[in-house]
Amino acid sequence: MSVIIILVIVGIVVASLFLIGFIWAVKSGQYEDMYSPSVRILFDDYKESANNDDGDMLADNNIPENKYKNDKISNQ
């Protein structure tokens, strides 16, 4: 039964890692802007698209347009 004690300690350690991760995320300001990262990840790197000038249009067409349509985001 004493294995439970080890399990509890392991559990605390794992949970603490997540807690530390959360504290780091808050302190580094990741909760300040919840919108722009979601859009940013969909942008192509500028240099790539600049290199293949004509193929560039193709790359753009791949972007699902609907993703950007919600320009009225609740201002919270």
Binding site: F22, V26, E32, D33, S36, F43, Y68, S74, N75, Q76
Partner: protein
């Protein structure tokens, strides 16, 4: 055809560039700049999302940024050639904006990196100040129509997100402890849990004690502080019973753990704090890009051009003294009360008074701060310091509002009785057990305090009002905080400002009075009016539709008098009565534009304000419930139109100065009335602050508005009665939720007074009551808001 850049209608003669239509040169210039830099993708991400700016001429407007002192205030950081700046750009609105602003480095090699904070509408730019100056960075942004708002206000306060961060941390920590402690207490609740070996009970007890420490000491400290503050002011707020509950829970549980009696109520305790913090977070989420606390600092310029022995010099506004001489250029704002020395002053007070027609001043005249110079540069001498100027003083009563403590909120009244009753029950049951079974007396006493800890009660208000605030925001009514809901419900008088509030500033109606003009004459009038940018000319021009225009020769503009020219071979004068006829206007109550064509005065255009759509139904709905007043800084011209609407003439007051308005609100309040003031401009600033609830109406909610409790989008004005009525619904939901949470308390108390409150009952009752109350409040508000405030 719509403009490739901004999507607006291009009209009949679009500006063409590379076969693409643009509505104006400004838009096409931005397109060309982006094209040169191979940034056309801006238009692919979200088509036609560009920003239209009519006047793109920058000139020397941003020269003040070169001033060292101002630069130091603006920059977040500057060292060894690398500088960082955060600029507030209200026009950020879509994914394209983020993309373009984060690719600024392509447009200028001096810019190292930039990142956008979307909800705050700011961009953080890192640049190499050996290659590019801050002024150039700002001008680059202006050139692509992302105009940063640089005001004194933004210079002074930087970063205010600290309290939000600490709340998130508290939630994280208490959540962490809550989950773990719940796990430790769980075996106790299972059948046969009491047979657990005492070693485990001790171990789990000690572990939960350790985990509870940071929660009780750090996460919950705001509640102790608030309770303490309340008691100091001799009032019992909701935080008093909460603190009482937390402390009793903690002492009782710690005692059980230390003596090895049991495992205590640590899970309920931590859960309680966790839920409370979530409620606080939900309620506290506000609109980060909107500002409700604006004072004159966010309206006035950061720096002014001082004239020193004939030399121009940029100085920060804070260094402006009496009797400095300063230069005000076209479109600049007068920062302090002054006297006009030289130049042709044509001051637009539209934001101060709501009056859209510029006022002309002669040299030697007084000029009040807050107006905007239109036309050529003028030289003025400062007679009062910025903070002592007439308008700034009215505005500076901000502190007044901050000191207003929320004394009589519903929740505080309830918690006062609640606390007293709970303490009584606790004492009575303790005394009862003292005589019957003394061992149970203390336990019954603490049990009552524990189970009655008003967790559900305390969550009701944050969730009900928080949801209401969100629903309002979704429908175009933005309030400063949740207190506004309760204040709005209590009002019994509503005071409207006229210009800009119930009338629309930008659109005026022109009605021709006199013998009807024929087609040719209408064309002539339209042609002449098209040449002038004066608001009255624009109104006259817009009132004549579907006519061709002629070429105007010998066009001349006489400031504050009128315009003249030769159109289609005929001599035309238009303007004030004095200018056109040489006599004083026989109809001085209204603003009239007289028309003179070919030796003859044909009549005049009567310019009338147009009322907001839906005004009539708004007034009619509100009239039934509230006392309505109208305060106007204008003359009585509109009295005839308005008195049938408002019902009685005595409630319509005209020629009211900003100070009069404030005094009027003060008087109504002295009579015991709760006043809602609805205004829009600086002239209402004093009254807005003085009133119980001050709302402003804005076409663009991100543009400047005076300090207030809420901003309503002008398109939603017609729903104002619904918004106000909905606050009653919110309070009703709060009361029903109170009743639900009291029912849970009765069940809990039933066990507590008998002295057999086991941890499992506490562990079940507390979360269930909280969750059900929260769910009830949130769902019913969201459902009812959809029903009662329909989306058009």
């Amino acid at each position: 055809m719509s403009c490739v850049h901004c999507g607006e209608d291009c009209g009949k003669h679009p500006v063409m560039w590379e076969d693409k239509p643009f509505c104006c040169n400004g838009c096409s210039t931005v397109y060309q700049i982006l094209n040169e830099n191979k940034l056309q993708k801006y238009y692919d991400i979200q088509p036609m999302s560009g920003i239209k700016v009519e006047q793109a001429d920058v000139g020397n407007k941003y020269s003040y940024i070169d001033n060292k002192e101002i630069q130091d205030q603006l920059l977040d950081f500057s060292d060894g050639g690398i500088s960082k700046v955060t600029l507030f750009i209200p026009s950020i609105h879509c994914a394209s904006c983020i993309w373009l602003l984060e690719n600024l480095y392509i447009m200028h090699k001096g810019i190292i990196a930039s990142s956008v904070n979307f909800p705050k509408k700011t961009v953080n730019i890192t640049f190499n100040d050996n290659i590019v100056t801050l002024r150039q960075v700002v001008e680059l942004l202006v050139s692509i129509h992302y105009i940063p708002e640089i005001t004194l206000d933004h210079l002074e306060k930087k970063e205010s997100g600290k309290s939000e961060k600490s709340l998130l941390l508290k939630i994280g920590i208490s959540g962490f402890s809550f989950m773990n402690v719940m796990l430790y207490n769980f075996p106790e609740y299972l059948p046969g849990g009491d047979e657990l070996s005492s070693m485990f009970t001790r171990f789990f007890g000690i572990m939960s004690f350790i985990l509870a420490l940071p929660v009780v000491i750090y996460c919950a400290k705001d509640y102790y502080l608030s309770a303490f503050k309340g008691l100091k002011h001799k009032m019992i707020n909701i935080d008093v019973p909460i603190t009482l509950g937390i402390i009793t829970l903690f002492i009782q549980s710690s005692y059980e753990v230390i003596t090895g009696d049991g495992i205590g109520y640590m899970d309920s305790l931590i859960g309680l704090i966790f839920f409370l913090l979530i409620g606080k977070w939900y309620q506290g989420k506000t609109y980060s890009a909107l500002s409700f606390e604006r004072d004159y600092k966010s309206y006035f310029p950061v720096a002014v051009t001082k004239i020193n022995d004939g030399k121009e010099e940029t100085v920060p506004l804070s260094e402006l003294r009496v009797p400095d001489r300063i230069l005000i250029r076209n479109q600049e704002i007068i920062p302090a009360d002054s006297i006009l020395i030289t130049g042709e002053a044509n001051i637009d007070y539209s934001f101060v008074t709501g009056e859209s027609i510029p006022v002309t001043k002669k040299s030697g005249d007084n000029i009040f701060a807050g107006g905007r110079q239109m036309g050529s540069s003028i030289e003025i001498e400062v007679v009062k310091e910025v903070e002592q100027s007439y308008l700034t003083q009215l505005w500076n009563q901000e502190n007044k509002k901050d000191n207003k403590v929320q004394l009589n909120t519903l929740i505080n009244k309830v918690s006062e009785y609640f606390t007293v009753i709970i303490l009584l029950i606790a004492l009575v049951s303790a005394v009862y057990w003292m005589f019957n079974d003394p061992k149970l007396a203390l336990f019954a006493f603490t049990s009552v305090l524990i189970i009655a800890c008003p967790c559900a009660l305390a969550l009701t208000v944050p969730f009900t009002f928080g949801s209401t605030m969100r629903q309002f925001g979704r429908k175009g009514f933005y309030i400063k905080n949740t207190d506004v809901i309760e204040n709005l419900r209590g009002i019994n008088s509503i005071i409207f400002d006229k210009t800009g509030t119930i009338t629309i500033n930008s659109t005026m109606k022109a009605q021709f009075i006199g013998k009807e003009l024929d087609d040719e004459q209408l064309s002539i009038v339209k042609s002449l009016a098209s040449n002038s940018s004066h608001p009255l000319s624009a109104t006259v021009k817009d009132s004549i539709k579907n006519r061709n225009t002629f070429i105007v020769e010998n066009y001349r503009e006489f400031p504050s008098l009128g315009i003249s020219g030769v159109v289609n071979g005929k001599r035309v004068n238009m303007g004030s009565c004095k200018f056109v006829t040489g006599k004083d206007d026989p109809n001085p109550e209204s603003t009239n534009v007289y028309v003179f064509i070919d030796d003859k005065v044909h009549g005049y255009f009567k310019i009338e304000n147009s009322y907001r759509p839906g005004l009539k139904s708004v007034i009619n709905k509100l009239k039934k419930v509230y006392q309505l007043f109208l305060l106007s800084g204008d003359n009585q011209a509109e009295k005839k139109n308005l008195s049938p609407l408002f019902g009685s003439e005595s409630n319509l007051l005209f020629n009211q100065s900003p100070a009069d308005k404030m005094k009027f609100v003060e008087e109504r309040k002295k009579k015991g009335e709760k006043v809602l003031m609805i205004g829009d401009g600086l002239n209402d600033a004093g009254a807005l602050i003085e009133s119980d609830v001050g709302l402003t109406i804005a076409d663009d909610i991100y543009s400047f508005s005076p300090a207030c409790d809420g901003i309503i989008e002008s398109s939603r004005f017609k729903q104002l009665p619904e918004f106000i009525r909905f606050t009653n619904t919110s309070i009703l939901i709060v009361i029903i939720s109170f009743i639900i949470s009291f029912l849970y308390n009765f069940v809990g108390l039933y066990f507590a007074v008998q002295g057999n409150l086991s941890p499992i009952i506490a562990a079940i009752l507390m979360p269930i009551s909280s969750v059900s109350v929260v769910a009830f409040a949130t769902f019913s508000i969201n459902y009812l808001a959809g029903r009662l405030i329909p989306d058009f």
